[in-house]
């Protein structure tokens, strides 16, 4: 497997007159073609910011970046607007939590998918519409020919989410970014969409980065899982390894505090306190104030993300 995406030491800072937010503080990872990386984190951990940086979706005038994001050798952070718009949609696509915002309410689903196909490939109108129908079939929307004529509000949440996946895959991207795409869906629909993403990923050999706060969801789709906390990756491991033997105290706490079968009557293990304010760059381990294994050297320097074995990296002074 070759690495298609390389993120190196990414920093993202948002600057507004009121405050500065250091949202991402040095994130590095690789993604291979055909691999699914789950990024797990709580709100404010920087997981979505990291994901959106790959498409440079943040408002340019109040975002400061440093580091490098290379897709198949091309540096995304240096791209000119023209190259950037070719990148978006053609090589990299994104699906969001709320499909309603991805579609324009005044056009039908078919018109919108066909329009995207036409813009990126220059196909004729009838050809694009045919492609749109094939795409809806591909995401397993029943009676696709009729659904082409439906407006977004006429579809249920699950159908809209499928349609958004169809739209995202309309130009054969190689990398799919998913930002909590199943969070707003009902349980019985969520599993359908997760399975669909997994199948399509295999079928088209896509690289997928799947951002979620739900461990169960991450386990269902990911090959590797990265755990983010306060703008940093604190642990990265193959999914089995992450579930069986998480090393970072935060990952451990997160897994232990997630309620699942058979915990009834037990006291839940919880992480005390709340995530830190990101107004300043931390000088030590960001998790130290909440960590029960904290040592004096935790606060003196930011621990490095070290490989403790093949493909398993941990950012903790205690990890061996």
């Amino acid at each position: 497997m070759t690495n298609m995406l390389q993120v190196r030491d990414l920093h993202v800072t948002f600057v507004t007159p009121d405050r500065t937010v250091h949202a991402v503080n040095g994130v590095s990872f690789d993604l291979a073609r055909g691999e699914t990386l789950g990024i797990l984190g709580e709100s404010g951990s920087g997981k979505s910011v990291t994901l959106r940086s790959i498409l440079r979706l943040h408002p340019e005038h109040r975002t400061r970046w440093s580091g490098s994001i290379k897709l198949e050798g091309d540096e995304i952070l240096d791209m000119a607007p023209r190259a950037l718009s070719d990148l978006r949609g053609q090589r990299v696509s994104m699906i969001f939590q709320e499909p309603a915002t991805a579609f324009d309410p005044v056009f039908t689903i078919g018109q919108q998918i066909a329009e995207t196909v036409r813009r990126h490939t220059g196909k004729s109108e009838t050809e694009s519409m045919k492609r749109a129908k094939d795409l809806l079939e591909m995401v397993r929307i029943p009676s696709p020919a009729q659904r082409l004529k439906a407006y977004p509000h006429e579809m249920s949440g699950g159908m809209r989410q499928r349609a958004m996946i169809a739209l995202a895959l309309s130009c054969n991207p190689t990398l799919l970014l998913a930002d909590e795409p199943t969070t707003a869906l009902d349980a019985t629909v969520q599993i359908q969409v997760l399975l669909l993403i997994r199948e399509l990923q295999r079928e088209f050999n896509l690289g997928v980065i799947f951002v979620t706060h739900d461990i169960g969801v991450a386990v269902e789709v990911s090959d590797r899982i990265g755990v983010m906390y306060a703008g940093k990756l604190v642990e990265m491991a193959p999914v089995e390894r992450m579930v069986d033997a998480p090393q970072h105290p935060y990952s451990r706490g997160l897994l232990a505090s997630t309620v699942h079968d058979g915990m009834r009557g037990q006291r839940l293990e919880s992480i005390p306190g709340a995530p830190p304010d990101l107004a300043e760059v931390p000088s030590g381990c960001s998790f130290a104030p909440r960590c029960k294994f904290v040592r004096p050297d935790c606060t003196t320097a930011v621990p490095a993300l070290r490989d403790i074995e093949a493909a398993h990296a941990v950012r903790c002074v205690l990890a061996a």
Binding site: S43, A187, L194, I215, E240, L254
Partner: protein, 344 residues
């Protein structure tokens, strides 16, 4: 007014704390030029439940199943179109019963959105003192109660009383919301998706706190959530709803260990696996829940049910007692006409 002491138990432990019978709530959907109502959302239809003293009744279901409407009906933020409620032996809002305001002293609610449920212009102390003051508690006593409430939910009164909601994290705000629900010393608290918006590590803190408060203050909970794992963790009995109807109701062990209704089974097996070696390979049911406007005839689940037959479209299955739980499915009713049902 009294000084808001806890209300004493009346009917003894065997009498249900809250008994709701035949609750129905339909919402008209305004349409047409002059706002004529053309359609109705059948949010809750003929729903009966009882909440025993000291138990936690979990209510699960997907969006549009009417679980939030149930919450609002139980505390009478919505007036039911039909049905009666009895609180510890007293009929609610009836000639010889208690008033809605008396109900609300004993039944309180915690909402999902911790931000929208706190007035942004009031400090935490002002928010917490509002209900006791409105019930005539003198200012000094109200201040004392605010301090007490904050300590109960694990927030240092000296540090948090004068803060505003936007200065608190989501978990802290939800603690304040729980404190507010406790302010009138109620007996029953309805938790409507109260932990759903919280991060997992914070959710665990709040769940632990809810368990502690329940024992300490002798509370009864109605815990409404879409998260099956959390409901399983907290509840003694579980009620499963689908499109405004109860499909299954029973002890938590029976519902999770031996689900009888095809919908309950689907819901349970739709949970993401926590083990990467045992991933889900097939979705238990296809499609989305239908719109609660014009729900399917007969059994409302039949459009997604793998076992649906003619009888399911014609006859509405009653909520009938099965082994340990009550189930609304023709397959469990002897002689219903379903091929999988036992003969009468």
């Amino acid at each position: 007014m009294d000084t808001l002491l806890p209300i004493q138990d009346r009917g003894g432990p065997a009498q249900p704390l809250l008994l709701a019978t035949g609750l129905r709530k339909h919402f008209p959907v305004a349409g047409g030029l002059f706002g004529r109502t053309t359609k109705v959302v059948r949010a809750v239809d003929d729903l009966s439940l009882s909440v025993a003293k000291g138990e936690t009744l979990g209510v699960v279901g997907e969006s549009g199943c009417g679980k939030s409407t149930v919450a609002r009906l139980l505390i009478r933020l919505l007036k039911p179109d039909k049905g009666t409620m009895v609180l510890d032996g007293d009929p609610v809002d009836e000639p010889h019963g208690i008033t809605v305001n008396e109900l609300r002293r004993q039944v309180q609610m915690v909402f999902q959105d911790s931000y929208a449920s706190l007035n942004p212009r009031l400090t935490i102390a002002e928010t917490l003192a509002f209900a006791p003051r409105a019930h005539g508690l003198p200012a000094a006593e109200a201040r004392e109660r605010v301090r007490d409430l904050l300590s109960k939910v694990g927030l240092d009164p000296a540090n948090y009383a004068t803060r505003y909601p936007h200065e608190l994290s989501g978990g802290q705000r939800q603690r304040v919301n729980i404190a507010r629900a406790l302010a009138l010393r109620p007996r029953l608290i309805i938790l409507d998706e109260a932990v759903s918006a919280l991060d997992k590590s914070v959710e665990a803190q709040v769940l632990n706190m809810l368990v502690d408060l329940k024992t300490e203050l002798d509370l009864t909970y109605v815990f409404i959530s879409h998260d099956l794992n959390v409901v399983q963790y907290l509840s003694d009995r579980v009620l499963v709803m689908y499109l405004g109807k109860i499909v299954e109701l029973g002890p938590v062990e029976a519902i999770y260990g031996n689900p009888q209704h095809p919908y309950t089974r689907a819901l349970l097996s739709a949970r993401p696996s926590m083990d990467p070696r045992k991933r889900t390979h097939e979705a238990p049911i296809q499609g989305d829940p239908p719109n609660p406007i014009d729900p399917p005839s007969g059994c409302r689940f039949r459009t997604r049910c793998p076992f649906a037959e003619d009888v399911c479209a014609r006859v509405e299955p009653p909520l009938a007692d099965a082994q340990f739980q009550a189930v609304a499915c023709h397959m469990r009713v002897a002689g219903s006409g379903h091929s999988k049902a036992m003969a009468a």
